[in-house]
Symmetry: C2
Subunit: 164 residues, 2 copies
């Protein structure tokens, strides 16, 4: 597994920041102009149930973090985003996997047509903050990466002034 | 993999609740009498770095969720807790693992002696809420299960009145 150092302007905590890219994954938190957030629902065989989750997927060979996020968002919801920003980078299972997970805010969205892969049956739906917090509190949203990403967003980012 | 249905008084969302036990894992959020929370720090080979995390581990054969939590807490920090409550149950990697993760609040703590396993070198330390929120915001705490568990606790549980 080759590690490549990539510079990219995340602009979140640091204007420029070093990121070691490897076949990790992306998690996308798409915020619509009205503030609602897009979630997807799909059947997860491993868990034997349908789950609400943020858009997510592996980074393909040759892709950088932003490209993977744009591709996954388009495939699973049909949306395009003009702006992506990594706001969290975390390890989903540090005990045994080196997988690194980049969580990106996707903004300035425009709707298109979803292109799910053969084996994916995905429903996308927009929720407001109150609905999402209720789902998390009631354990109706039980995917760990989505809980972490959404609660981080609500606690540290939502409602802050944007620079543009 | 045998699924066993176990009734236990979680007392959180429902007085009694059905839980399907399987070799899942527990995550423990230990709250000291002064409100500070115990975290552990250990080297994670898969991630090639030291990470701050909540106490966590697999549920052993024959154990229930609470027993696994008590054992992990004792082994990794030396602390015993008189009260455990599941407040979140989530899937760390629903895309490919059936692993289910129970996050427990551990209260009424008394200190003892840590008993780490051979290959574990663990440091335990207590942090207050402000310090933990800063660590999460600055990406100095980057373990997904710990981010999810701590932010859930701060958002929905901390500061609420206790019944006893």
């Amino acid at each position: 597994m080759q590690a490549i150092t990539e510079r990219f302007a995340s602009g979140w905590h640091n204007p420029i920041r070093e990121v070691i890219t490897h076949p990790g994954s992306v998690v996308v938190l798409p915020v619509l102009p009205d503030g609602r957030i897009l979630l997807i629902r799909q059947y997860r065989h491993a868990t034997r149930q349908h789950l609400w989750e943020l858009v997510a997927g592996r980074i393909d060979a040759g892709e950088n973090v932003r490209q993977a996020a744009a591709r996954e968002l388009m495939e699973e919801t049909g949306y395009h985003a003009q702006r992506f920003r990594v706001f969290l980078d975390m390890f989903p299972t540090p005990g045994f996997l080196e997988e690194r997970m980049y969580v990106l805010l996707a903004e300035k969205l425009t709707a298109g047509e979803a292109q799910p892969e053969e084996d994916e049956r995905i429903t996308a739906k927009a929720f407001d903050r109150a609905a999402l917090e209720r789902m998390i509190e009631k354990n109706a949203l039980r995917d760990a990466k989505s809980i972490a990403g959404l609660l981080y967003y609500f606690r540290f980012l939502a409602g802050r002034k944007k620079k543009n």
